[in-house]
């Protein structure tokens, strides 16, 4: 460390300043503008400070937050509920997959892992769009089911809770599998064998040995799914209906449809408040591993 001396600031400085200006400072701007009101000016919000007869006067108010609190809070409940449900489903679906990859022959593991990551590299918009063609009333799934004679009328598979949660699970499943695989692949095989030798049945080995040792992966995966899912916009917008509003979409509508920037900023602050606890938890987890 002493070797670097002051020169380490040449490496710390650029990303530090960049993130300060383009990540942290903007959050401060959002907080400030959430206290103003929308107006027919450019930019479309009232200034926080104005020159009055008694010098500078503050025009800041909590009206936007009051309106949110008095209004329809369903979108906030939906966001938390859908994100939690998607996290649990990702865990239930992702665990066997991560387990199977960790136990696959060595030569297979990297290619299998690559196949898990590959959808990451392709467009989320396109992958969500693909589900529209499958789920819509005249879509592939309904036609297949009707063709097999299983249904008489098309099932309502899209623009409801089901399709939104399905989309969330589909989009975030790789975020769950990767940390789970990380934990499971480091699992000491001899512990599993020892438990089996001592007479534990596979279910017991799993419950008492494998599962507890993979909990760090479970926690990391859960946060990686839950946090971004709360603020998701594309999925509720393309696969959701009027009854499946989520916070991310409310923010979008306030900004683009109502052109009420201060209201959108207040929604963003509510979203930040929802995310603070899980975010700090996530950083604690990262630092402990490092």
């Amino acid at each position: 460390m002493n070797l670097w001396g002051w020169r380490r600031w040449l490496l710390i400085g650029p990303p530090f300043l960049w993130l300060l200006v383009f990540f942290l400072l903007p959050l401060g701007v959002v907080a400030a503008i959430s206290l103003s009101q929308s107006a027919d000016t450019i930019p479309p919000y009232t200034p926080l400070l104005i020159h009055g007869p008694n010098g500078l006067e503050s025009q800041a108010s909590l009206d936007n937050y009051r309106l949110i609190a008095q209004g329809d809070l369903r979108a906030y409940a939906n966001s938390l509920g859908f994100a939690a449900l998607a996290t649990v489903l990702c865990l239930l679906i992702g665990y066997p997959i991560a387990f199977a990859i960790a136990r696959a022959p060595k030569a297979w593991r990297n290619p299998l892992l690559f196949l898990v990551i590959l959808p990451f590299w392709t467009s989320l918009l396109i992958r969500v769009y693909a589900w529209i063609a499958i789920l819509q009333p005249t879509g592939l799934l309904n036609r297949a089911l009707a063709g097999l004679g299983l249904i008489d009328a098309p099932l309502l598979l899209i623009y409801n809770n089901f399709s939104v949660v399905l989309g969330l699970v589909y989009a975030y499943l790789p975020f769950m599998i990767l940390p789970l695989y990380g934990s499971l692949s480091q699992l000491d095989e001899s512990l599993v064998e020892a438990a089996a030798d001592l007479g534990a049945r596979p279910a017991r080995v799993f419950r008492d040995v494998v599962l507890p040792l993979s909990l760090p992966g479970v926690a990391a995966g859960a946060l990686l799914v839950f946090i971004p899912a709360i603020g998701e916009f594309v999925i509720p917008d393309l696969l959701g209906g009027p009854g499946t509003l989520m916070v991310g979409k409310v923010l979008w509508q306030e900004f683009f449809d109502n052109v009420d920037w201060p209201a959108a900023a207040a929604v963003a602050m509510m979203l930040v408040a929802l995310l603070t606890a899980p975010l700090l938890l996530a950083q604690r987890l990262v630092e402990r591993k490092a």
Binding site: P14, I126, I134, L279
Partner: protein
């Protein structure tokens, strides 16, 4: 373990990958569909690819996206490599907690917040400083470089953690300076993380709809923005063709890059 379990594991893999890839496979298959109806198979045809070529709407947007993606990924590579190296190797410095938080938070903070906050910053800064004069390619590039650099930092940090520091110490013992060691020993040693970091930042930029919608101006429509406005009107087979081309290009680049990395690793192991 018993045979039943291997069957269970094979089933888990088959169902899991089926779930992940079936929608994509159907999308690709139906891009070759002659029928205008999305769910009715009307025989094989390249009709929609022809429509795509004739349609100029997507071409300009694709060029914008490529330009932004290359610039944002390159900027993110520099910033993220510095950041990942600093947070991994310098265990104590003033502001390290804040730095660590800023490097991690953009990975998970919802895109609507990143987009709105940057837009409000750009608008406020335009009012006070006169910069940026207009919103477009530059502002989208800045936004994409911001979250891209955090993804690069994660990959760099992960690979540095497994990097053999004896090599660096040997070079230092032989009289090299810290920056010389970083440039000649450490960076070549974490080459795979740099390549995959750039690619990840590039594809994230190509893929981003939400942040770009907030911070872009009327002059710079990106490909996802063009796709989104067309998808909102309705599902058309032309989008299937566009998606297939997009998927093909991305998968080709990623597979090429990774086989290159794998070959270099093998050569290094064979030589070492």
């Amino acid at each position: 373990m018993s045979k039943r379990l291997t069957l269970f594991r094979a089933a888990a893999l088959a169902l899991g990958f089926g779930f992940l890839y079936l929608p994509i496979a159907l999308l690709v298959a139906y891009s070759f569909n002659a029928s205008r109806l999305v769910a009715v198979w009307g025989g094989w045809s390249l009709h929609w690819y022809g429509e795509l070529v004739r349609d100029g709407q997507f071409r300009g947007a694709a060029l914008n996206s490529l330009e932004i993606g290359v610039m944002a990924a390159s900027l993110a590579l520099v910033l993220g490599t510095c950041g990942g190296f600093a947070i991994e190797r310098f265990t104590r410095f003033r502001g390290r907690f804040v730095f660590g938080f800023m490097l991690m938070a953009p990975l998970v903070v919802p895109e609507v917040i990143l987009g709105l906050s940057l837009l409000l910053l750009f608008v406020a800064s335009q009012a006070w400083l006169g910069w940026p004069a207009s919103r477009g390619i530059l502002t989208v590039t800045i936004a994409h470089a911001t979250f891209g650099s955090c993804f690069v930092a994660v990959l760099v940090r992960a690979q540095l953690a497994g990097f053999d520091r004896n090599l660096e110490e040997a070079a230092l013992d032989l009289g090299a300076r810290p920056f010389g060691v970083l440039w000649r020993v450490t960076l070549p040693g974490i080459g795979p993380a740099l390549v995959s970091g750039w690619l990840l930042a590039f594809t994230l930029s190509l893929d981003d709809l939400v942040v770009a919608s907030f911070v872009s101006g009327p002059s710079a429509t990106t490909l996802p923005m063009a796709v989104y406005s067309s998808v909102r009107i309705g599902v058309t087979p032309e989008i299937n063709a566009l998606a297939t081309v997009f998927l093909g290009v991305v998968i080709l680049i990623v597979v090429l890059a990774f086989s290159l990395i794998a070959r270099q690793e093998r050569q290094r192991i064979a030589a070492g």
